[in-house]
């Protein structure tokens, strides 16, 4: 029996323009920054910065392809852009739809809340892994043409982290939406959590005794452990996937108990 998941398709369709726009934006940002590698390769941009700052921004090794890609694309721009996109999409899919009243239409049909939530999480995963795949192809091509010396597999590992990062934050946004039903609440909470955990990953390790805080950051487990240099970290991947699963369970618990009101 084929698995019927009409809500996945419908969600992707309704978000298609947003996905296209963000996909295009991400690809352009990556092309512009990634493409500037030849200028950085022989310069010493980081030498003009205090070493702490340079290291927080991962600017201490801009001359290697892996270091450069990490500092620009995978450690900074893509995670931040994806964080914003994830919060917007995740907030819209439960809280936004409840506020607009469009959730009623689904839930007045013979569709369980559990199924609605799971199909929407499925749609989120499809979107995030799709964007990550696009990124994988693009960065691999850039690396090959600009002679960055990064393996396709290591780029893939970083992109897998990116896909999971987007999924985790979008599901976090859905979870806050399932609890609060308010989009403004979703944006506020997720922005705070996003910024805090980003700082945990970048600044935390600079402070003595606070090295451990990076372990609490999804940004660390996504790309902060530098898969471009160190290869795929299975533990990090599993931790991210596990976090996503836990968040789905929490969201489901909250959503099942919600009064759906407009």
């Amino acid at each position: 029996m084929p698995i019927e998941a009409p809500i996945v398709g419908k969600t992707l369709r309704d978000l298609s323009r947003n996905i296209f726009a963000w996909g295009l934006g991400l690809a352009m940002v990556v092309a512009i920054y990634g493409g500037s590698y030849p200028q950085f390769k022989d310069s010493n941009a980081a030498e003009s910065m205090p070493s702490g700052v340079a290291s927080a921004l991962s600017f201490d090794d801009l001359s290697s392809g892996a270091g450069f890609l990490h500092a620009t694309v995978f450690g900074l721009l893509v995670p931040i852009l994806l964080l914003v996109f994830a919060i917007l999409v995740g907030g819209r899919l439960l809280a936004g739809d409840e506020e607009a009243g469009t959730l009623d239409l689904y839930l007045a049909h013979p569709v369980s809340r559990r199924r609605l939530l799971l199909e929407r999480c499925g749609a989120i995963a499809v979107i995030m892994f799709g964007l990550a795949l696009l990124l994988w192809v693009e960065v691999s091509l850039l690396s090959a043409t600009l002679d960055m010396g990064v393996s396709v597999l290591d780029v893939g590992a970083a992109c897998l982290g990116i896909a999971l990062l987007g999924t985790v934050f979008a599901i976090l946004a859905m979870t806050v939406g399932a609890v609060s039903g308010r989009r403004a609440t979703v944006v506020a909470w997720c922005a705070v959590i996003g910024v805090l955990t980003y700082v945990f990953n970048t600044v935390g390790p600079q402070i003595d005794g606070l090295h451990f805080v990076k372990e609490l950051s999804p940004f660390y487990h996504a790309t902060g452990y530098e898969p471009l240099r160190n290869g795929l970290g299975l533990g990090h991947i599993l931790l991210m996937a596990g976090s996503a699963a836990v968040l789905v369970a929490i969201a489901q618990h909250a959503f099942n108990r919600r009064d759906i009101d407009t």
Binding site: P6, R13, G101, Y106, A108, P110, V111, R257
Partner: protein
């Protein structure tokens, strides 16, 4: 099949300390058309959302088609068609695609009837959902509620936004549904919307069911304002002791009064003079409510 399509016992819903519904006892018989009347904010939509398991009761019991919405929601909703009061549709699809998607949520039930229903309602299936007028969105809502021939129809303010011709088509759909044995539960804040279709009417006010009666009885108790313009001056005494007439005021050739129930005596008295114009405002539900409400207060 259970005797009652919808049954609630002491059903209450509160938001924090604010009660939206207080001890509602509702009985909708299988196969009847039940008009659920009340002013805006009386608890009509809250009741309907409780029936569909969109809201969870604070206390009391709900049975829809003999089942509890909390545990058997999916089965109830597969046998029910629902039209929301404030139907929100957001989609990048056209009408046909959205309706087919909704049919897929029912395992395909009703897909075949989409073209015929759209045709009757004069709904263009190729239009984009975005940019549909309120009336056209309402038509989409009616199609999705009726297309799978459900045994229970729950319709919240179904005719809002429809022009008179489409209201007629809608009423035909309701009577067809009734003929094939379906139960129809429809809410409205206007009596005329339900009086032609409904067998019985329940009136809710302030979260309580104030009265349940057949439509005729409600109409007989209805209050209407009547204004008559005569060709000449008329003596007030000719009208002052007529049955069902109150608040009489005669100024020269103009007569204003309030009629409680059947206006027969007034019309016959007026017929003795030359009548230039007669205006009878539709019974004002709000005034009926006030009457019912006061009766209920006096009874206590």
């Amino acid at each position: 099949m259970s005797e009652h399509a919808i049954q609630t016992e002491q059903l209450s819903k509160a938001y924090g300390s604010h009660p939206a519904l207080t001890g509602l006892d509702l009985e909708v018989r299988t196969g009847e058309v039940y008009g659920f009347l009340g002013p805006n904010g009386a608890g009509k939509s809250t009741t309907i959302r409780l029936l569909l398991d969109l809201l969870r009761p604070t206390s009391g019991r709900v049975r829809v088609l003999g089942m509890d919405p909390l545990t058997k929601g999916i089965e109830i909703r597969s046998r029910t068609g629902y039209l929301a009061g404030e139907l929100a549709l957001e989609s990048r699809q056209n009408v046909d695609e959205l309706l087919r998607f909704l049919a897929r949520l029912r395992g395909g039930a009703g897909r075949d009837r989409i073209p015929a229903l759209a045709d009757r309602l004069d709904l263009d299936l190729s239009r984009q959902i975005k940019g549909l007028s309120k009336g056209n969105k309402q038509k989409v809502g009616i199609v999705q509620a009726f297309m799978h021939d459900p045994e229970l129809l729950i319709l919240d303010e179904p005719t809002s936004g429809l022009d008179p011709l489409m209201r007629q088509v809608f009423l035909e759909l309701v009577s067809e549904a009734r003929l094939r044995g379906a139960t129809v539960f429809m809410s409205s804040h206007v009596l005329s919307e339900v009086q032609t279709a409904a067998d019985r009417v329940g009136i809710i006010r302030g979260g309580r069911l104030v009265t349940v009666d057949d439509v005729e009885a409600i109409r007989r108790r209805a209050v209407r304002r009547v204004e008559i313009q005569f060709a000449t001056e008329v003596p007030e005494s000719e009208f002052s002791r007529l049955p069902n007439v109150s608040d009489l005021e005669v100024r020269g050739s103009e007569l204003h009064c309030q009629v409680n129930g059947v206006p027969d005596a007034l019309v016959k008295a007026a017929a003795r003079f030359e009548v230039l114009d007669i205006v009878s405002e539709e019974p004002d539900l709000e005034e009926i409510f006030i009457g019912e409400y006061e009766e209920a207060q006096h009874a206590h």
